[in-house]
Subunit: 118 residues, 2 copies
């Protein structure tokens, strides 16, 4: 189970770009720069409560994007498959370790698979 | 170069879910069911011009989503890498065709790589 801040950070990495600029900026100050609601409020000349609501609205939107697009879900599923593929290739490399030409090719394939989800 | 309808269909596949329900519905009738603007206008009790504007607004939004999230771009890049990986594995299989245990394992890896972008 991810804690709330980690969850929001991941959501922000995937969907932050879809938030309106001002909301995104406030979000960034709060979650990345760790400014307090009061500090952000002062910077924007808004109330602490206003900033709090903006952050909460942003969180809700990010969760809605994931519910609709499921990019994080797909990413995690792909990561799992990639990890499994890498292990299977490593096993083949181990079994055929005397065949340097084969293992070199498989190492290269493994590297390229690793980069697929980046 | 993709024609406009193909381009919009792909954009809709990736981002249609982010359009508001009514806009999405009109979009679907126009692009998937190939109803005319006039037919959709009649169904909704709106003007042909109103439907035309809704469709155009939808297209603009879909393009904005791609400009921000780049999912189609990433998908196509991944497809290219996957195709290349498959070919390289096929070549190894061909070279080692007498080793049925190895080729069976590589065939299975190839299958799983193919499914990564689906």
């Amino acid at each position: 189970m991810l804690d709330n801040i980690t969850e929001i950070s991941i959501l922000y990495d995937f969907y932050g770009v879809l938030l309106p600029p001002k909301q995104r900026e406030i979000f960034r100050l709060y979650y990345e720069d760790n400014l307090s609601l009061g500090e952000i409020a002062e910077e924007y000349g808004l109330t602490r409560q206003g900033i709090h609501e903006t952050v909460k609205r942003g969180e809700k939107k990010l969760r809605e994007f994931e519910a609709k697009l499921r990019l994080i879900h797909k990413f995690e599923k792909e990561e799992e498959i990639i990890e499994k593929l890498k292990k299977d290739i490593e096993q083949i490399i181990y079994v055929h370790k005397e065949d340097s030409e084969l293992t070199a090719k498989l190492e290269q394939i493994k590297e390229r698979i690793t980069k697929l989800n980046q």
